[in-house]
């Protein structure tokens, strides 16, 4: 038996013992998701137990080194864990921007002190993070951002920045504890005048205002900074070189978002919808085409992951994955709505689980906007991968 088989056996036994039955049910709504953070209230004891046990094993961030709260698993072991969790339908113990986005950036750009401090907090789900990138005038053209951080040398209170400006579309800003934020620290240099700061959302001068979405929920906010004081050591990477950190983090964000297109559900759409009858042959045909695309995309995702492990593949590939995956997911939900007919329109009813289908459908429209729009992804592919002129 190979080491990996032994590991698989151990994982299987551990999951059997430690993953509560309630945590093996599919996620139904936002309430089922464990986000952690200072103000998080667990839905039930099982959700808390599952998180605690995973934290103890390092399984909230299995591939991170042990000193940062991970389990120090190799890529192959982490895949075994993922597969075994998927096999029993285990929910992720912790969902977090800290895990998906900030963590990888800290691992690459953080100082040793920052890593030990912040990564462990992320792994334990103690701090809920939000992302302060977009501004009203800077969305796709992110590098045009204006939020300004002025350096203050303070012999008494310590060197710090004073941050002023506004962010927008900050997901969960009203629920987050800390923000990772792009701030202009040099007005004369576009790309090399941005710094990457971390700070507490409870700092004086931070305020948020929710934005209502077409799905009826309100996960994001306008976020305002009015003379917010940020200590000097809460910068990640070098002064004015935050764009490198920002881009690296975006790569991970795009990778994460692209996963919405394939995965376990791939190819299952037709089979799932057919249970309720698929009488329209044209719709059935479209669903079949979708399943072809979805299964093919899943192969692409697998190939991408395999290539990432050995450092093959083009560095701009996550942009392609993001583009293809999110467009696919939007199509999926259009078909679900089409197959559901009028029943899928119910917005507030028990039968529709409060319009779950319709709300999900509406939410997916953001897939090709958040984390960089499809058009921006196509720009990146044209320039960085295809090397077309006029970049």
């Amino acid at each position: 038996m190979s080491d990996l088989d032994v590991f698989r056996r151990e994982v299987r036994a551990w999951l059997e013992e430690n993953c509560p039955p309630e945590m093996r049910e599919p996620v139904r709504d936002e309430d089922d998701v464990c986000w952690g953070g200072r103000h998080f209230t667990f839905k039930n004891q099982a959700q808390k137990d599952w998180l605690d046990r995973c934290i103890a094993k390092g399984y909230t961030v299995p591939a991170w080194p042990k000193q940062y709260g991970g389990a120090g698993l190799s890529a192959a072991e982490a895949k075994v864990l993922r597969d075994e969790m998927a096999r029993i339908g285990a929910r992720p113990p912790l969902s977090s921007f800290g895990i998906w986005m900030l963590g990888p950036a800290l691992l690459k750009f953080g100082t040793e002190e920052q890593k030990v401090h912040y990564l462990n907090q992320i792994a334990r789900g103690e701090i809920r993070w939000c992302q302060g990138y977009s501004e009203p005038g800077s969305g796709s053209d992110l590098v045009s951002l204006q939020t300004f951080g002025e350096e203050v040398h303070d012999p008494v209170g310590g060197d710090h920045w004073v941050v002023n400006g506004q962010k927008i579309w900050t997901s969960y800003a009203d629920k987050a504890d800390w923000i990772f934020c792009l701030v202009r620290t040099d007005k004369t240099n576009k790309y090399q005048g941005i710094s990457f700061l971390l700070f507490d959302m409870e700092s004086e001068g931070v305020s948020t205002k929710p934005i209502l979405l077409i799905s009826g929920s309100s996960p994001f906010c306008e976020t305002f900074f009015d003379n917010v004081k940020v200590p000097r050591d809460q910068i990640v990477g070098e002064l004015n070189r935050g764009w490198d950190v920002a881009k690296y983090l975006l790569g991970h964000e795009r990778e994460m978002i692209s996963a919405t297109g394939g995965g376990d559900r791939a190819g299952a759409l037709g089979a799932m919808l057919a249970r309720h009858g698929l009488e329209d042959p044209v719709l059935r045909a479209e669903i079949a085409q979708f399943d072809v695309d979805s299964l093919a995309f899943t192969a692409m995702s697998e190939k991408f992951m395999d290539e990432v492990k050995v450092g093959k593949g083009h560095p701009a590939q996550p942009n392609m994955m993001k583009y293809a995956g999110t467009e696919l997911n939007k199509r999926r939900h259009e078909l679900v709505m089409g197959a559901g007919g009028s029943a899928a329109l119910e917005w507030e009813s028990q039968a529709s689980n409060d319009g779950a289908k319709a709300r999900s459908w509406l939410r997916t429209k953001a897939n090709s906007i958040e984390g960089g729009t499809s058009e921006v992804m196509l720009n990146v592919i044209s320039k960085r991968i295809l090397d077309l002129p006029g970049a």
């Binding site: 190939k303 392609m320 077309l388």
Partner: protein
């Protein structure tokens, strides 16, 4: 197994791509045989060169003098064939023919495989009866006659039929038209009396035959595999052909894509390189994404086939459907982005479009395979 080529496979890919770009190039092969109005539609000398590289025996067992490799390796060869539009009997002979013969008696393998490995023998596959791929329905029948069989009926669009030393024929030995059972595969030698071929040139310059069997007497040893139980072996031959055609189409698509992006980088209009126009950039980038996905689907299907996985059937159809769709897009966009010159015979892009059309029909188009994906998924 990781979804990319391992070291040995990458090495094979390098060798084959160099060889095909030189010896198998459009100028040296496709255009040459077309312009000479060659009756075979391909060059036998190149087939011999395939043999010198060991490619002809890629799927044949080592005991038969082959390399005993798998569909991943065959796919590597086919992708390069596709990229260079190299006309050759590789898919029908070394992939589908050998897959059939791998299920045959030692005697039958001995009769054909050495010739294939030597680059001398060519096989054709006679399954379809009509203009569309419908292997579920086989009418062509073989009745018991003494120790052998008497074959009658017809087969259509048999690629390289007239150049082949033998035709692998799927015929009905019992049951009715659409029965799963009752199918038998036969190796019918080219000089079998009662067999006639009406050869036609296709849009991609390949030669295909309408074959008529008029009471063709076959000896008992012409049977490949089991009498009446040929459906499973036929399934294997079809999978090999489908996954192979998918790989070739991915090659066609990336060949077309390559020359198109090159054109975008060099053609000037409105004082700019046309590749600077975002309208074209986005379409090229979209096409690139689709190509990557089709390529991954093809490799996945090849690997599953080689592993003997039960998911292989589904993934083979996914690969053929996806490759068909994507290659179609690649050639259409290619011609359009070439502007007027895309319509000329001098530019190669039109040749890609023609080859793609033929490959799309070969072993089932994307409609057929999307339908099959639905059926296999239970709806």
């Amino acid at each position: 197994m990781p979804l990319y080529h391992n070291e040995d496979q990458a090495m094979l890919a390098e060798t084959v791509s160099g060889f095909m770009a030189e010896e198998g190039s459009i100028k040296n092969q496709l255009r040459r045989w077309r312009d000479e109005n060659c009756k075979d539609g391909f060059g036998h000398a190149l087939w011999k060169q395939f043999s010198e590289l060991g490619l002809t025996g890629i799927l044949a067992g080592e005991a038969d003098g082959g390399l005993g490799m798998g569909h991943v390796e065959a796919g590597i060869v086919l992708s390069e064939i596709g990229r260079n539009l190299t006309p050759s009997p590789f898919l029908t002979t070394a992939v589908m023919g050998v897959t059939a013969l791998n299920g045959a008696s030692d005697e039958l393998r001995g009769r054909y495989v050495p010739g294939i490995v030597a680059g001398e023998t060519v096989l054709a596959i006679a399954i379809d009866e009509g203009a569309k791929h419908r292997p579920e329905r086989i009418v062509c029948k073989a009745e018991k006659s003494g120790n052998g069989f008497r074959l009658s009926g017809r087969k259509d669009f048999v690629i390289h039929g007239a150049s082949a030393d033998a035709l692998i024929v799927a015929a009905r030995t019992s049951g009715s038209e659409s029965d799963a059972d009752g199918i038998t595969l036969f190796a019918v030698p080219k000089d079998a009396s009662g067999m006639s071929q009406d050869s036609v040139r296709l849009v991609d310059s390949a030669m295909a035959s309408h074959v008529t069997f008029d009471n063709v007497e076959l000896a008992g040893d012409a049977v490949i595999g089991e009498v009446d139980g040929g459906r499973e072996l036929l399934g294997r031959v079809l999978n090999a052909g489908r996954v192979g055609a998918a790989a070739e189409q991915v090659g066609v698509a990336s060949g077309a894509f390559g020359i198109t992006t090159e054109y975008l980088r060099t053609r000037k209009q409105f004082g700019k390189l046309i590749g600077e126009f975002q309208a074209l950039q986005h379409r090229a980038a979209h096409l690139y994404s689709e190509l990557q996905i089709a390529e991954a689907a093809a490799i996945k299907a090849q690997q599953l086939l080689d592993e003997g996985s039960e998911k292989a059937d589904l993934m083979v159809s996914v690969a053929k459907a996806k490759a068909g769709k994507v290659a179609g897009l690649a050639v259409r966009e290619g011609v359009q982005m070439h502007g007027g010159v895309g319509m000329t015979d001098e530019f190669d892009i039109g040749l890609y479009m023609k080859r793609d059309r033929a490959l799309s029909e070969f072993m089932g188009d994307h409609y057929y395979h999307a339908e099959r994906v639905a059926k296999l998924s239970g709806y």
